[in-house]
């Protein structure tokens, strides 16, 4: 399915570049035009106190506006600026980083692409959320946002699929998700 993978990422990038973050839901500025990363747990928002981890999910820190600002440059936080459209376990908490997979996993070619605002340099970036595949779920730092998420019958905007489905060598076991910068959004 290489042609489909290339088409998917290419189309998503193009659309992300064409689209301003203004006018989208909430303050995230996310454009969820690509595909999702992993079957997600529909967590109860606000169930855990700010800055704590949920016992069952290993949820990364997140909370009210004050707390979000504190974590905006923390790659292991759901509030990290690149994570404006993240869904899944953060690879930075699993032996990888925001742009690399943990040892022994394979990066999926299929991605969910978002456009995120970097408050440090004031630019918007196209961010690609590639999955790392081939090992059991990492289980650390689960981030789950459903902005502009669609049901399973609109696959490339649905975060309920395991997108390791399209990976090559390692097949479908999902481990964690990255947040690679693709380009500056034009």
């Amino acid at each position: 399915m290489k042609w489909l993978d290339s088409l998917t990422e290419g189309s998503a990038r193009a659309l992300a570049k064409r689209t301003s973050r203004r006018g989208f839901i909430g303050s995230l500025g996310a454009i969820l035009v690509g595909v999702s990363t992993v079957p997600l747990l529909p967590v109860a928002r606000g169930a855990s106190p700010p800055g704590t981890s949920g016992p069952s999910t290993g949820k990364a820190p997140g909370g009210p506006a004050d707390d979000k600002a504190k974590h905006v440059n923390d790659p292991t936080s759901c509030d990290y600026w690149r994570h404006c459209a993240i869904d899944g376990y953060l690879c930075g908490c699993c032996g990888g980083s925001e742009n690399s997979c943990p040892p022994g996993t394979e990066m999926s070619a299929i991605t969910w692409v978002g456009t995120c605002h970097n408050p440090v340099d004031g630019r918007d970036y196209v961010v690609s959320y590639n999955d790392c595949c081939g090992k059991s779920t990492c289980g650390r730092c689960l981030c789950n946002r459903n902005e502009r998420d669609t049901p399973l019958y609109v696959p490339f905007q649905s975060n309920d699929y395991n997108w390791c489905s399209g990976s090559g060598k390692t097949n479908i076991p999902y481990h964690c998700s990255t947040a690679r910068i693709v380009s500056v959004a034009k």
Binding site: M1, L4, I25, G26, V35, P39, L40, L41, P42, V43, A44, R45, A47, G54, S56, T57, I110, G134, K135, S136, T137, G139, R145, N146, E147, R148, D149, T150, P151, L152, Y153, V154, P155, D160, Y161, N162, W163, C164, S165, G166, T170, N171, I172, P173, Y174
Partner: protein, 388 residues
Amino acid sequence: MKSPRWVLSAAVACAPLALALLGPAAALAALPPDPLATVQSLPRPASPHWVWVNDFVFSHMVSGKAMLVDGDSGRFLGELDTGFGSQRVVLAPDGQVIYSPETYFSRGTRGVRTDVVTLYDPSHLSPLGEIVIPPKRSSNMPMISNAQLTDDGRFLLIYNFTPAQSITVVDTRSRKFVGEVETSGCALIFPTGARSFFSLCADGALLHTVLDDTGHASKSDRTQPLFDVDHDPLTEKGVRVGDTWYFVSFSGMLYPFKWEQGSVKLLQAWPLLSAAEKAQSWRPGGLQQLAVHTGLNRLYAIMHQGPLETHKDPGREVWVYDLVRQARIQKIAMKNNSGSIQVTRDSHPLLFSIFIESTVLDVYDATTGNLLRSVTDIGTTPTVLVTP
């Protein structure tokens, strides 16, 4: 409540008297040895108040399972191990077999992938056999519509996503893989009759497929778009009463699709929420957010307050509707967060409720809404509930 000290004191005081009355032989009678290798089995037919709690064990997805609980007693009756990313078990209408679409790798999380439908004996919860199917089964948040039987029980249908979309057809009579039905652009399975089903399409259309006696597609029709995917999409968590499937939109509109004279028609959609409730941001949510009781013609919907992007969030209320009058008749306050609900089919129905981040199964009287019992420690990440 009596204090432990009081109970202990009373027991010590009464013991000599009891021994004197019973005599030394009775007091010292030895227990018989327990038989070796006793294994429980389950009666048939299954109780209508049993529920299968499916669990895809998100922290360790190769170890999916399905757990059987008796709603009347709260007893944990047994378990099936259902492999990687398991979604749900499918119960044969005659109760003679349990079908489970499963995925395995030859080396745990690596090696050769094999997808099978495992057939389980409902009395002993042990495998009867397996049917190898193409390694294409979709890995997604578990949905009831990932796998369905045709109404006559003859063909088992399984949704594939590679990410090309199709549906695997298994003949339950010959216990063989029959073939695949292509459903490009359309997902999941919603049976409409003895040999037919529809899938939901990305443009809001429905793809309706009829199978022939061999399980191959003999007819395939695609409707015009019937709902607005861009502005108010329907969740894929549909429920069925007779010849009508009900889907709720993100904003709380209920869409009835009726199977009539060989095609699917959209009846008039109606709101589950009043204008005032919408203004207060009430909306349906959850993984298995709707349930129905066919005999009572009632719809149960998990409700919570939140913005649009909370459409999968759990709720602390279940609202009950009369589907004939199209009116809400009851609100049930839930003890715990509710993400998945199911109602038993009998005339004294139970309402089961669980949430993927919890492991407590709550059991309610589905007519009064009274909480009957809570069953703790059910799995790890429980997903969808299946009743006989």
